[in-house]
């Protein structure tokens, strides 16, 4: 017994020493961002948090400030289409953060909103402006969208982050917090050694990629996307992919209702919401069996909340030039600049007002003429 207890103490002490050592090293390599941290969550790769879901989950406390905040939400087309560094200079009244997440559906967007709000103290809720970029691909049930073999069916990327470090526990009704939101930064501090080791592993993998393929990752660069075109076979495959990702019954009613209730709840608590209909290339829009149901839902939501002074919706459906997209969904950089400019213009007249006055629906942005020229 004596030997077992001694060895337990030795192992525990050695582990604690090593853990603290790596923890200290993490502060040297990645100083604590505190409240002055990077606001653009799309540059997560440069931080200790590595990925957008991890950054959103672990680094969201940078949004707990009394400043006006514009928080961009959506899937990967919001991530690449609304460029934070393009929007921020045009919006002096608010700090812009892009929390959009690749593959997100409406449920995951709602999760992000909940996570942001639970970290903020109540007075810091009011200056929030949530920009929710939507398209039909986001209206897929979680069980269909999140069904890869390496995850529990229905777990979103955010759910995975919740469970990963033991901050939440799994229950039949979904994740339940173990660590109260107010202790988030303490929890993040405690897992810094793990984050650093994980970061090192990812950097090593990037190094191997670079060595073997001459590229950091399989993702295309902005320059490659700019010249990309889709063949007819690519288009067919893309349509098949989205049919597999959406299910057979059109856009999900559950997701539609969730978007509606999420917007209603934000508006009721005095926060502002911008709902953006994100365009897709014309060939995709015309061929997809889901587009009509989605367009109808968007119009319905715009009408329902149109009378609320803290709501505005924007459609950019005129920006549907096939050659302006690198694939079936994602805007090329030149088009992303237009998207960003349109959003910035709308936000400067909506988010920067002290009190929103009249409700409105904007179907065309102020740069309509410029945008139209991209429609080849």
């Amino acid at each position: 017994m004596r030997h077992i207890l001694r060895q337990t103490a030795l192992t525990s002490a050695s582990f604690a020493f090593l853990y603290l050592l790596i923890g200290c090293l993490s502060f040297l390599v990645f100083p604590d961002p505190s409240q002055g941290g990077i606001r653009d969550f799309q540059v997560a790769e440069r931080t200790l948090f590595m990925t957008v879901p991890k950054y959103v989950f672990l680094g969201r406390s940078v949004l707990d400030t009394p400043d006006s905040k514009v928080i961009l939400l959506g899937a990967s087309n919001t991530a690449v289409g609304f460029i934070q560094k393009e929007i921020q200079p045009r919006l002096a009244c608010a700090k812009v953060s892009n929390l959009a997440m690749g593959g997100a559906n409406i449920s995951e967007v709602a999760q992000i909103i909940d996570l942001v709000r639970e970290t903020q103290s109540s007075p810091n809720h009011a200056p929030n402006t949530f920009v929710i970029g939507v398209w039909y691909g986001m209206f897929a049930d979680s069980d269909i969208r999140f069904s890869d073999p390496d995850r529990h069916r229905g777990d979103s990327d955010l759910d995975i982050e919740k469970y990963r470090y033991g901050f939440y526990r799994r229950t039949a009704n979904g994740p339940v917090a173990i660590l109260p939101p107010k202790w988030l930064d303490v929890g993040v501090m405690a897992i810094r050694p793990l984050l650093l080791v994980e970061k090192a592993a990812r950097e090593a993998r990037t190094g191997v990629n670079l060595l073997l393929t001459g590229r950091r990752s399989a993702q295309r660069t902005e320059a490659e996307r700019e010249v990309a075109t889709m063949s007819e076979q690519d288009k067919r495959k893309a349509l098949e992919y989205w049919q597999g990702n959406m299910g057979k019954n059109g856009i999900s009613e559950t997701e539609s209702n969730l978007l509606e209730s999420t917007i209603a709840s934000l508006l009721d608590s005095g926060e502002r919401v911008v709902l953006v209909d994100l365009p897709i290339p014309a060939w995709h829009r015309d061929a997809s069996p889901y587009q009509a149901g989605y367009a109808e839902k968007f119009q319905e939501l715009s009408r329902r909340f149109g009378s609320r002074s803290n709501f505005v919706s924007m459609s950019m459906s005129d920006l549907d030039g096939d050659l302006d997209y690198s694939d079936e969904v994602h805007a090329k950089r030149h088009l992303a600049d237009v998207w960003s400019a349109r959003l910035a213009a709308l936000l400067s007249s909506f988010a920067c007002r002290e009190k929103p006055d009249k409700p409105r629906i904007s179907s065309r942005g102020p740069e309509q003429a410029t945008a139209a020229s991209f429609d080849h």
Partner: protein
């Protein structure tokens, strides 16, 4: 209770502490018995789920008790038949669906290994190798030892008895460290190597079944890589589990038998099975192969036939061992492949010995070229045969093999054999040159050095566990 859950650590720590609180044999037996009951209980959500297992144990104990007073071959035959029939019924083999099944969910984990232990005790009691009377609680502690409950190792009762409540391993600082190191190494295999291999495998497997028309080369490479990854996953998952179990056993004063001995260094299929899942192979050798050979030799006593009777006995033994792995038809294919592998290997040995003579065959089989070739062929065959384990439905298996065709299977086999053979050739040349300088070795082996090494392994395990985020399960639990 999953081996990777914090609950298991708490449970194990509790049992180890309680065990060492008092050196009284009856106290320690009570702790182990209670530990077994709690471990089994952790799998239950309702008491009814354990009733079939209790009935199985009672049936086994009843047979053992009868055989200890009535050492009749008829009695042994009837007992084995009864126990096997009840086991097959409980395991719900798909071939016996017509016999019906119990109308409620129940525990089947560990059933196969309990069967092996019960049959071993019955045979040994009948033969007189085991002449002491086993009390019911001792029988429970043996058949349901929580360390070996899920998937072995299959310990002989005679070995278990010497450590039942009596510490056969005298613990000192070094032995305890070695036990800790073994457990940590087991977790490293389990949650790092096996989990990463499974992660990669789970991404490749669906591509083999996806619609589309991939090129022949791509399909073969995909299949060879997926099948190899599954083998890596299976080995590290199972041998990691064994390290955890054997290391924990040391802390409870037990010496559990080893189950693996560098199987991938085997240069024949039969040698492979002397190194892989060793306690299972030995069990089949003692209780199926040996009696079968004896029976065949008594029926066909001609000396010229002896070697060929061995070939047949190998086929039957490995066929049964393969079929044991699962309850669907594809496991019969697996059994046939195992049987074919073993009997072809034996035939090769017989033919080479007859043609070359014992001495020349031995000389040939010791040349390095032959060894690497044989290693490659052995592993290549085993890797491909394991396909049955990851396509448990016969239809999927047939679809995959049909898609590859004979040429595809052969190409994959050659590719894997070449890769493994070359790998071993490289390892044997590079490994001897990789010795740490004396100063590092001294630092590593010091008290601080070895504990920091252990701590860094634990750190790596925690990091990989969080990175992969989905706890791996123990694969052999399903067999």
């Amino acid at each position: 209770m999953s081996l990777t859950s914090p609950l298991f650590f708490a449970f194990l720590a509790g049992v180890v502490l309680a065990y060492h609180l008092n050196a009284s044999v009856s106290y320690r037996r009570a702790v182990l018995g209670l530990g077994n009951a709690i471990f089994i209980g952790s799998y239950l959500t309702d008491y009814t789920q354990v009733l079939p297992l209790i009935a199985f144990l009672l049936l086994g104990y009843g047979c053992v008790s009868v055989l200890s007073v009535w050492k009749s071959s008829v009695g042994l035959g009837l007992g084995i038949l009864g126990v096997l029939a009840y086991y097959v019924f409980l395991k719900r083999f798909s071939f016996f669906d017509d016999f019906g099944h119990l109308p409620f969910p129940y525990l089947t984990i560990g059933l196969s290994y309990i069967l092996f232990r019960v049959l071993h005790v019955m045979v040994d009691v009948h033969s007189g190798d085991l002449d002491e009377r086993i009390d019911p609680l001792g029988f429970f502690r043996y058949t349901c030892n929580f360390l070996c409950f899920v998937s072995g190792p299959i310990q002989r009762y005679q070995d278990f008895r010497t450590a039942d409540g009596t510490a056969v391993v005298e613990l000192d600082a070094d032995k305890v460290f070695q036990a800790f190191a073994r457990v940590v190494a087991g977790y490293a295999k389990f949650v790092m190597i096996a989990a990463v291999a499974e992660y990669a495998f789970s991404f490749l497997k669906p591509q083999l079944f996806q619609a589309g028309d991939p090129s022949f080369a791509k399909l073969c490479i995909l299949y060879a890589v997926a099948a190899s990854l599954y083998t890596v996953y299976l080995y590290y998952n199972f041998s990691g589990y064994m390290d955890i179990v054997i290391g924990s056993g040391t802390l409870l004063g037990q010496t559990l038998p080893e189950n693996f001995d560098n199987p991938f260094s085997a240069s024949s299929f039969l040698e492979f099975w002397q190194r892989w899942h060793m306690t299972l192979s030995q069990w089949f050798k003692f209780y199926l192969f040996n009696p079968l050979v004896m029976l065949l030799m008594s029926c066909f006593p001609a000396p010229a036939l002896t070697a060929y009777l061995g070939v047949f006995a190998f086929f039957v033994t490995f066929l049964v061992m393969g079929v044991w792995h699962g309850t669907t038809a594809v496991f019969v294919v697996y059994g046939l492949l195992m049987g074919a592998g073993a009997s072809i290997n034996k035939l090769w040995q017989v033919a080479c010995t007859e043609r070359l003579g014992k001495k020349r065959y031995k000389t040939m089989s010791e040349t390095s070229g032959y060894i690497y070739f044989a290693r490659g062929v052995t592993i290549g065959y085993f890797v491909l045969a394991l396909t049955c384990l990851w396509t448990p439905e016969l239809l999927d298996f047939a679809r995959l093999i049909g898609r590859l065709g004979p040429a595809g299977v052969l190409a994959a086999f050659v590719g894997i054999a070449l890769a493994f053979g070359s790998f071993w050739w490289l390892v044997d040349r590079v490994a001897p040159r990789l010795t740490a300088p004396a100063i590092f070795a001294t630092a590593r082996d010091s008290l601080v050095g070895r504990n920091l090494t252990l701590a860094s392994q634990i750190m790596a395990i925690v990091a990989v566990t969080t990175l992969l985020h989905k706890s791996p399960d123990f694969v052999y639990k399903a067999f």
